[in-house]
């Protein structure tokens, strides 16, 4: 084999390896296509024979059921696809918030396992072992039980300043949108641009002169100051929609339902325990000499972690982190067990109202597939960014 010339140079023939390879691929493709076609056509045939209606036309019909919580207004007279949209947005809402919180918590716990304080180390290890070894469904049921059984009823909700906490969830004040708020929003946008410019300038100066400027607090201060200035320029609107206790419910203001909270807390604490292990493995993969070298250069422990350990650990951390993000998103489908109207729950209801089981399950599968592919595409892009650039 080793003495033969590479296949690209050999003349083409019916017996060539390249041709055989092509034939095998075509045959495999045809077989898969045939199986899919057979399953699809047989399903359609069976459904027709049994008088089961099929097709996606139901999506434009009026849904006829209401949805407990939604980021945008949904009325039962609106169509099924709008209902599915509400479900998808609800899934996204818990997935995005969950990924963010789990990353923060997981990183803290992961770093905590390298703490010089034995108590912190022990607590972090105990957290990981307790949370990752119990099925996530039990986590959700437990948190939901805690929130609905332990908290006071809505009539005697706990009041913390303008916040209410009860079996009805958390109620909090929200600023009412007025014309003046546009100035504040504009200020924040301007602040973000300014902060970015500042960071670029500071980095250039640091590389040129070695004078280090604040790279975190200063930009944060810029954004806050710009937002505040915008708010003042807009006439400092202070109208706030505060929750008030009604006869049977806490009304007005913003609200997070116990279903959402239980799902968010459950998914976050569960996934964070895995993320902590991922972070720990990443940090452990950086040779101890790096840390010692950093210390020799006079970097304190915080700077050592931020500037030396983390950038190197990230390369090991990102790929398994993608898995955890995908798991969190997919685990959010367990929401039906605790009554959160995610896309699976909406599909369940739609399935029952219309009888289109195959179609509804197909929609749910497509939604999760799309979300997962988007997440991993983003993470792959980020991974390529932090990977070692070999020049």
């Amino acid at each position: 084999m080793a003495t033969r010339s590479p296949p690209s140079k050999s003349p083409w023939s019916w017996r060539s390896r390249a041709f055989r390879g092509l034939v095998y691929q075509l045959v495999a493709f045809a077989v898969i296509a045939l199986v899919i076609w057979f399953l699809a056509s047989n399903t359609l045939h069976n459904m027709r024979v049994r008088g089961i209606q099929s097709g996606f036309d139901f999506l434009s019909q009026s849904a006829g059921f209401s949805i407990g919580e939604s980021l945008f207004a949904f009325d039962s007279a609106e169509s099924y696809w709008r209902a599915f949209l509400v479900g998808i947005v609800n899934t996204l809402r818990v997935a995005v918030a969950g990924i963010f919180l789990a990353t923060v918590l997981g990183t803290l716990v992961g770093v905590g396992r390298f703490s010089r304080n034995a108590l912190v180390r022990g607590l972090c290890a105990a957290y990981v072992e307790c949370f990752r070894n119990v099925p996530v469904l039990l986590h959700l049921l437990m948190w939901y039980l805690v929130l609905t059984e332990m908290l006071p009823s809505i009539q005697d909700a706990w009041k913390f300043g303008p916040f209410f906490l009860s079996k009805g969830g958390v109620n909090f004040p929200v600023p009412i949108w007025q014309a003046g708020q546009a100035w504040a929003a504009g200020g924040v946008v301007a602040g973000v641009v300014l902060a970015w410019l500042y960071r670029r300038w500071a980095l250039k100066r640091f590389e040129a002169t070695g004078i280090a400027a604040s790279m975190f607090w200063a930009p944060v201060a810029i954004v806050i100051a710009a937002g505040l200035l915008g708010w003042l320029a807009g006439g400092a609107p202070t109208l706030v929609d505060s929750p008030v206790k009604g006869e049977f419910a806490v009304e007005n203001g913003g609200a997070l339902t116990p279903e959402f909270l239980a799902l968010l807390i459950g998914l976050t604490t569960y996934t964070a325990s895995f993320i902590a292990e991922v972070v720990r493995s990443g940090i452990a993969s950086v040779p101890a000499g790096q840390s010692e070298a950093a210390a020799a250069l006079g970097l304190d422990r915080g700077l050592d972690i931020r500037l030396v350990m983390m950038p190197q650990a990230l390369r090991v951390v990102i790929p398994p982190m993608t898995n955890q993000y995908l798991n969190l998103t997919k685990n959010s489908s367990l929401a039906v067990a605790i009554g959160y109207p995610d896309v699976v729950s909406i599909a369940n209801t739609a399935m029952n109202q219309t009888g289109r089981a195959v179609e509804c399950i197909a929609i749910v599968m497509a939604v999760y597939l799309t979300l997962s592919l988007l997440t991993s595409a983003f993470m792959n892009w980020y991974n390529a960014r932090v990977a070692i650039k070999e020049r």
Binding site: R50, S66, T148, K167, A249, A337
Partner: protein
């Protein structure tokens, strides 16, 4: 494996069944039951009074008695039934895919279910209506007081849609919390998450007995917001089987009209001269032959379960644990809606 995963697995398997099963099923249900020697009946996972397994694993209830009567009529033995407990979402797929022969699971008969699922509703076995249960201390007397309130409900039921319709018609802006499983929905209600739980009034009575620590702390509101005619369903495309189920149920109802009790079947078979009684018990004309069964079909069914009135009294009636009044489920000549098409 969690029950949740199991359910999805079951749904997926049922969907695979749809994909793979051979199409020719029509007319074969009775043959299948006979060769198997067993009727496969889809029932509720646990709704005491309608279908629930006792501590010995023996199934009982109004819906279960329908299965027993049908099994006695076609197989000669009310015990030859395999019960498949199904959730609200699984039930139709299980029937469509041929996993069960008969769905007797407090299912509301509606146009959509009849016309678009490939199924047939047979005969109403319980006239129900959707009601609400509330905590006594909430002091709510009427569902119209639910303005801006949260109500717990199970998904996969007609209830969810009725609730929305009611909320809209009365401008109540009711918020729903939808659970996949009835147990989860009622647990959330009993924990105080929702002001009320809603389902068929008969189901509420059952849930109050089963789930509440003190049943007396909960009130079932008298106002019903919908018609819920409950009855068994069969697959489309097998008219013979449809007719058998339909006529066994009519037979049970008509037997009450003519007072053919479980205990009196044997005696009436020899002594009765009433032509209607003789037709029902198979001592007169052979009604069984027309259905593809033998002469004694209805006599066996009645010996197994008793007539409709006895089934009602035993499982859900005023003297049972549920204590539901006979109300509109009484015979037509006693002010109810139970009116059997005559067996003749």
């Amino acid at each position: 494996m969690s029950r949740f995963t199991k359910q999805w697995l079951a749904a997926a398997l049922a969907a695979c069944g749809l994909m793979a099963a051979a199409p020719a099923m029509a007319g074969k249900t009775l043959d299948g039951i006979k060769s198997r020697g067993q009727l496969v009946c889809g029932v509720h996972t646990g709704l005491p009074g309608f279908s629930a397994a006792d501590s010995n694993g023996k199934w009982g209830g109004l819906d279960v008695d329908v299965c027993r009567a049908v099994a006695a009529a076609v197989l000669g033995d009310p015990e030859k039934v395999k019960y498949v407990p199904l959730t609200a979402q699984q039930r139709f797929t299980a029937l469509q895919s041929g996993e069960i022969d008969l769905l007797s699971r407090n299912t509301t008969l509606t146009l959509t279910r009849d016309a678009s699922l490939g199924l047939h509703g047979t005969v109403v076995t319980y006239y129900d209506g959707q009601g609400f249960i509330v905590h006594k201390k909430s002091n709510i007397k009427n569902p119209k007081q639910f303005k801006n309130q949260t109500v717990c409900v199970q998904s996969g039921t007609t209830t969810e849609k009725n609730l929305t319709d009611y909320s809209k018609a009365n401008n109540l802006n009711i918020k729903t919390v939808v659970f996949e499983k009835e147990e989860a929905a009622t647990a959330a209600y009993f924990a105080g998450r929702c002001i009320s739980y809603t389902t068929d009034a008969s189901g509420l009575a059952s849930i109050r007995n089963k789930g509440a620590t003190t049943p007396a702390d909960h009130v079932i509101l008298s106002e019903l917001v919908s018609k819920e005619p409950l009855g068994p369903m069969v697959r489309r495309g097998d008219d013979e089987w449809f007719a058998i189920v339909k006529w066994v149920i009519y037979g049970l109802i008509e037997a009450e009209e003519y007072d053919i009790t479980q205990a009196a079947v044997d005696q009436l078979k020899t002594s009765s001269q009433d032509p209607v009684v003789k037709r029902i018990l198979g001592t007169g004309e052979d009604t069984g032959k027309l259905l593809g069964l033998d002469k004694d079909w209805m006599a066996r069914a009645l010996k197994a379960t008793g007539h409709y009135g006895e089934i009602f009294e035993r499982n859900v009636g005023p003297k049972s644990a549920l204590g539901l009044p006979r109300g509109i489920n009484n015979q037509w000549n006693k002010g109810g809606l139970m009116y059997a098409i005559p067996i003749r």
